[in-house]
Symmetry: C2
Subunit: 298 residues, 2 copies
Amino acid sequence: MIIDRLIDKIKEKKNPTVLGLDTCAEYMPDELRVGIKSFKDAGKAVFEFNKNIIDNTADIIPAVKVQAAYYEMYGSYGAEAFQKTLEYAKKQGLVTIADVKRNDIASTAGAYSKAYLSHSDISGEAAFDSDFITVNPYLGSDGIIPFTDDCSKYGKGIFVLVKTSNKSSSEIQNRVLDDGTKIYELMSDYAAEWGKGLTGKYGYSSVGAVVGATQTAEAEAIRKRHKGLFFLLPGYGAQGATAKDLAVSFDADGLGAIVNNSRGIICAYKKYDGLNYYRAARKAAELMKDDLNAYLPL
Amino acid sequence: MIIDRLIDKIKEKKNPTVLGLDTCAEYMPDELRVGIKSFKDAGKAVFEFNKNIIDNTADIIPAVKVQAAYYEMYGSYGAEAFQKTLEYAKKQGLVTIADVKRNDIASTAGAYSKAYLSHSDISGEAAFDSDFITVNPYLGSDGIIPFTDDCSKYGKGIFVLVKTSNKSSSEIQNRVLDDGTKIYELMSDYAAEWGKGLTGKYGYSSVGAVVGATQTAEAEAIRKRHKGLFFLLPGYGAQGATAKDLAVSFDADGLGAIVNNSRGIICAYKKYDGLNYYRAARKAAELMKDDLNAYLPL
């Protein structure tokens, strides 16, 4: 069960951090950025940047999250960098999350699942082989089941968007239904339902939930509602959430969630004078680990 | 205004059909499929298939919709076929819709918008330059505004998922809020709101709505609620909707919506003996045009 592998890695490294590789030219230091004249150059630079950051953090972090949007900007060369990053991270023993927020009707969701989770008829492995992907649940069960079927078959997982970290998430997600349930609660109920049968040895399911680290009240409500729902928490650092805000998402053993940090790590070189980007990234990752450990009994 | 260009093309060709290029190896005839041994082969075959279908239908259809999932299955080679298909369709004068259903927080939505709608800092045009993309509204306004800003700047459009064509869409989209509004109605209200300022000469906005062709009652309700919301209607053909079901989505002039057909056109060769895949596609597209025109005063 992939959720067990993720939790084992978190325990082994005493660190529930996901390194978020939202890598694009604008986030890179000048020495890498100036050479970029084409999408091909950008793809190469992105992978080099990611590789150096992975090499300098892989011993202290359990997982990486690769955000598709930043790679799609560079077309097929970006797709290549995306694939190579996932592959390289996997080789370094990291759990990989493709943050793609895909969603569609069943036949199309099946095609997305082939791209990320299942096996290709042509080349064996999925083109963008990932341990987890993020998915958007607005289409309901029949758009999710192709993914969970493949999670069972191929030992993969998904994180379902439940309550997102952005301000406007309340416009829809906090609306109250006629039976008193909030939309994000309804989504968490579906996520728990979809994850039945994928529960591992720690009591958590390989179908988890994306819950904004900035959304303390909602995180607490969802945690109370579903003990077995593992959270992917974006919003720490650049988006404003602190380690203290996150504590409600974890259980008494310090498990139950993983905290993403993208710009706070990959752009740390802007903050730490005298350190190059990958040493700065390591320093930021170390500080984040300490910050989280002050609140978690890992 | 891109919505005007789309409507002009629909009027000129008397045909509100979108050719849906959900192209993957399984949908191809044997003669194209047998040669596929790698993702590279698949990418080449997919583009060749699409090009031949476009060449044989471009004079009778106004627009194509390219479904990203089927291309992502083939990794960076699929991405290349996706880009080349969009580019080729544009060169043939067709309006292009990238069916990507993207969604994320503002900074990331901005990156997606760069990939599809706006201009790249590196190479001028967007990597996957498209006239329209589809987006999922679950994150609320701040995840959509980066797209609508670029729609204004670069003359592009979006279709917001409102009521999808799949059976399970009711699980979430038909839930009723405490004020009596249904979720899909709420989404249609947001879509209308986001589209203010992007209304063209026919009274329709470049921010449209995805409404399942199979969802007659909901389509009628949304049409009554928002006269200026242009619909993208998937679900005709393979998913079971007929031309009669669709009539409620159109206005008295036969405008207001465009009907997607993917498998019904690209897999038509399985139905019409003696015709190769692109001649069969043309025949299916002609029959669909006649079918729609029987109900629409175009």
